[in-house]
Symmetry: C2
Subunit: 128 residues, 2 copies
DNA sequence: CAAAAGTGTTAGGACATCCTAACTTTTAAA
DNA sequence: TTTAAAAGTTAGGATGTCCTAACACTTTTG
């Protein structure tokens, strides 16, 4: 049913989620700018995501995540945020580098590892 | 001069390093098996690495890392090992999953973050 | 409301990586 | 030493992701 999404398309979902929460409507142009790619590329990616039922998009219109798409986007962002917090608060990595690393690592870590990172940081807070 | 290698080609280098240390000669077939891809794909990848001066390969012969190739391979493996140790010893991830996660994460973490992970684990050992 | 500016799409192509099928070379065994 | 098995290569094709150029639609604004 739901095949695993490529890293690239996960990035699209995450970007759409972020834009959804700050703008009213998410446009192809906004995505292109945030993702740092051209509009034709975004159009293509959006088409693929729509074909998987992860978002809704009508020609020349804005983009909306479906429930399933939002769920996946939220998971990706969760991984991103957990990793970033770990890098900054535990390792002392600079925020800018943490952001960069987290962008890549979010596609590499398993759910189990993320859950353990969360646990680890909680325990660490209690102990201090 | 040295353009950044793709994740795929970094994996090739790492595999060659591992095989180099356990067998006398590294063959295309060995690599194909270890990487889980077909021989034609390996032939192609090896050609690309040879073109970048990272390994030496004559038709129908074995594969040898150059000094530069070995250096890069060692770096990749270092990232891999540091991550794996962290996952197992600090987070308590199972060895099998740690291996899997490290395989992907090794292409995502910056040198700075790896260095900090090492530091973190050293400090942690001293404190215990 | 017409024209300019902005937004989105289509077409066509590049590149990396993988594959299968068919062929060649090398190695090993009868 | 010839032949069968194994190893390696080549050719040709698929897929995913990106691009530029050109075109189509929409929005803004004079």
């Amino acid at each position: 049913m739901t095949l695993p999404l490529s890293n690239t398309l996960q990035d699209y979902l995450e970007a759409i989620l972020i834009l959804t929460e700050q703008d009213e409507a998410v446009r192809i142009s906004d995505l292109a700018q945030l993702l740092g790619i051209t509009k034709p590329s975004v159009t293509e990616g959006v088409k693929a995501l729509a074909a998987q039922g992860l978002l809704r998009h009508e020609k020349y219109g804005p983009v909306f995540l479906t429930a399933e798409g939002e769920k996946m986007a939220t998971e990706v962002r969760h991984r991103h945020l957990v990793l970033k917090q770990f890098l900054i608060n535990v390792l002392g990595v600079s925020p800018a580098l943490a952001e960069k690393d987290a962008c890549l690592m979010e596609h590499a870590v398993s759910s189990d590892t993320v859950a353990r990172l969360v646990q680890f940081m909680e325990k660490r807070l209690q102990e201090s």
